[in-house]
Symmetry: C2
Subunit: 341 residues, 2 copies
DNA sequence: TTGTACGCGTTATCAG
DNA sequence: CTGATAACGCGTACAA
């Protein structure tokens, strides 16, 4: 027994009366060892309470059974949830998820990726597509497989598992137009280096444009994905003249903020102004009025991403991108515009 | 350059014309090396884009600069947020947070702890105090420091950073009684192996008892910390006769569920029934009516836990527990009981 | 101040 | 099917 009390391969080998090589085989290629000896080894393992030493194993095998993920922040429920799904899926294959956060900053994202690589992750999950070419180059050089989640363009050069943010936003805007809204504002996420945010803006812009309308400041405002920031933005929007009859938001958190903002403006949603969101997180069902929003199959996306990446690691399978469909879930926050005075 | 293109200590040493030992020292004990040579080494490091190999370092130093955390689930915003706080705090000290989830199951928690230990975490953060003695024994044997968050009892034998859940719940119940409520129900979390949940029940029980009231089934119900489950529970509670005039919930998610349940029962909160929560997450401010709830200093708790654990790892400093105070934040969901018919 | 050399726990190659 | 034994990348006594 090694001096610090934690048993090593060697201890097990000695105890079972075999070589360390055999013990190692028992753990990794059980079929390549005679059942008899295997039993002896397994007994020794159990008696000693032996657990393989991660660093030793990683060093020798150049594999960690770990995949890394860099997400913007766990404070957004949609990502926290996504992590949980990923983790559950991966742990079923006995691989560990190592999480880092970028706070929506590509610099920090690059840094975190480097950190994860240094820790020897076998693969990487990243959010969205927009990041400096350097980052992609780094990944390519190291030859480590990665998959992009939450975005999907048919001509994306990387493996991605997501949906068409632009189309989804366009359809939502079309629905808003369909109900008769013409003075439409948008509270968007920060679009710099965030293709989900910018694509959603473009989608709305396209839908309006098709009706001869434009989406521009001051009716288009970018804020952090935070309740308060969005509430403030909504108040500014509602103070505009003419006042918008509908506010399309970059996600559900912003939509919840917008609803609070309208209340704080002395108005009521959806009577005075309709509000729509994006993502369909639980929050959307809990605010008053409940949010009409874009439903994203985030659980299926997470599972698919995990499986794809698992397939790619430790094989030269390049994998293939997967596109998901989104839908609109109609609740109470979107209604036809009020009659004009 | 090692064959796979990723540079090693050796490559840097060769490039700088020094030994690997010197390079290693430059990285770990920069003062123990002459500025001149250090400059050469640092240059070589930069040119090669060298990053220390995690497993190699861990194996040699028997340290990983990693601390592990096992939480129930990231789906509960309060834990996701706590993780973010922990991570931010730890990464400032250049240590990585490795997260595992137990899904509120002590078996799985023990398993995850073992996994984290196998990965060589330098310390551990665990939620709450209730777990099998075996688990504590394992930790003790391995001599790895750990701190318990979210619970604090003055006679807890372990290092903990939290608050008195029972007292907090008692005060909330007292407040409810103060307003005149007498028919009080509770939707609690699952209390098995969850001291936060059970202490909160006990706190409410004590407050009622002091007024000659009892808290028992069917007026006391346990559910998962989930919206739907809690909504269903609320409906059952509101179908009881006599109907409770207040429902005290185990956390804010349950309270939000209870509010939905009362709405689905054709009743309105707080007019027909008051509802109070626990935790004060953002959700509490967003539901209608906004929740009167127990404010928990979770950010400060997270920071304090990180610092305490950091202090404990790699030293024989036993650390000291920290108790935080909670408060009640009054919003709209708690009012005096309706006049009796 | 710097270099040499060994060990950390495991896997993998190659004989037997 | 099993056993020696050489890596794996780094830290650190110890020596110079």
């Amino acid at each position: 027994m090694s001096f610090n009390g934690i048993p090593t391969l060697d201890d097990v080998a000695r105890r079972a009366g075999v070589s360390t090589a055999t013990v190692s085989r028992c753990l990794n290629l059980p079929d390549r060892v005679r059942p008899e000896t295997r039993a002896r080894v397994e007994a020794a393992v159990a008696e000693l309470g032996y657990t393989p030493h991660f660093a030793g194993r990683a060093l020798a095998s150049n594999r960690t059974n770990t995949i890394g993920a860099v997400i913007p922040t766990m404070e957004n429920a949609i990502f926290a949830l996504g992590l949980q799904v990923l983790q559950d899926e991966l742990s079923a294959s006995d691989v560990t998820l190592l999480v880092a956060t970028s706070h929506y900053d590509t610099q920090r994202e690059a840094h975190q990726i480097r950190a994860l690589l240094a820790r020897g992750v076998d693969g990487l999950i990243l959010i969205g597509e927009a990041r400096p070419e350097d980052t992609y180059r780094l990944l390519q050089e190291r030859g480590i497989p990665f998959v992009l989640v939450w975005s999907h363009r048919s001509d994306c050069p990387h493996r991605c598992v997501g949906f068409d943010n632009r189309a989804a936003a366009r359809r939502m805007a079309e629905r808003v137009l369909e109900l008769g809204h013409r003075r439409i504002a948008m509270i968007a996420g920060v679009t710099a280096w965030n293709d989900r945010a910018s694509e959603r803006v473009e989608g709305v812009r396209e839908a309006l444009w098709a009706r001869g309308l434009v989406l521009d400041p001051p009716y288009l405002v970018e804020t952090a994905y935070a309740l308060d920031a969005s509430a403030e933005a909504a108040k500014r929007l509602l103070a505009l003249s003419p006042r918008p009859t509908a506010i399309i938001c970059g996600n559900d958190v912003q939509a919840a903020g917008a609803i609070r903002g309208t209340r704080e403006s002395g108005l009521a949603a959806p009577r005075d102004v309709s509000v729509v969101g994006f993502d369909d997180i639980e929050l959307a069902t809990v605010v008053e009025p409940a949010l009409t929003t874009v439903r994203v199959p985030h659980r299926r996306m997470g599972r698919a991403a995990a499986h794809l990446l698992l397939r790619m690691v430790g094989s030269d399978d390049p994998g293939e991108s997967i596109a998901f469909e989104t839908g609109i879930v109609e609740r109470a926050s979107l209604v036809p515009p009020p009659d004009m005075p």
